[in-house]
Symmetry: C2
Subunit: 111 residues, 2 copies
């Protein structure tokens, strides 16, 4: 059974951090944002999202605050910290390096 992953493993933290550079968001909003920005290609399951947010909180890369949404529901809003912004930079650099390297391997031409 060819099961398809909902995202490239290892990229979720980066995607969340990047999403938060645009504006503070609650978890559900982050998931929606990533899904919509990616034209429905990337789906962040709840079972992946909330543990990831806990991770990011623990690392001090985001901070959380309970507020009310526009639709009048209680939700936990996450904001990127300075350390989080720095971490995002690191992860972006590593990611670029990785996909460049993968591109080299996938290229057909051999010297």
């Amino acid at each position: 059974m060819a099961k398809k992953p909902d995202l490239l493993p290892g990229t979720l933290d980066m995607l969340i951090l990047k999403t938060l550079t645009r504006a503070p968001l609650h978890g559900y909003g982050i998931a929606l944002s990533i899904k919509r920005l990616s034209d429905d290609v990337l789906t962040v399951e709840e079972g992946s999202l909330y543990p990831a947010l806990q991770r990011l909180l623990l690392q001090g890369w985001v901070k959380a605050e309970w507020r009310m949404t526009e639709t009048n529901r209680r939700a936990r809003f996450y904001t990127l910290t300075g350390a989080g912004r720095k971490q995002l930079g690191i992860e972006l650099t590593q990611y670029e390096q990785m996909i460049t390297a993968i591109g080299l391997v996938l290229k057909d031409a051999e010297a």
Copy 2:
């Protein structure tokens, strides 16, 4: 501790299959090939490589044959099968789709 992976998780099978489109190779040669083609960015550890090859064998995507290397050592040479070539196509498509989608999320511009 939380060591970073030497490659993007989920891409190893694709990299191995692609490497085998060029020529049959033994495990050690596959690892070397990926490392060199990627300018030493991607390193395939043996503990990742051999289980991955077992996986590919089991799926019927490669077949193996004991032969002698140029340096006169016994080695197991892996050859891509028809099913493996098909699988590679699938994985390449999914990979492209993923990194395109990730690119959309990482872009700064918002409509």
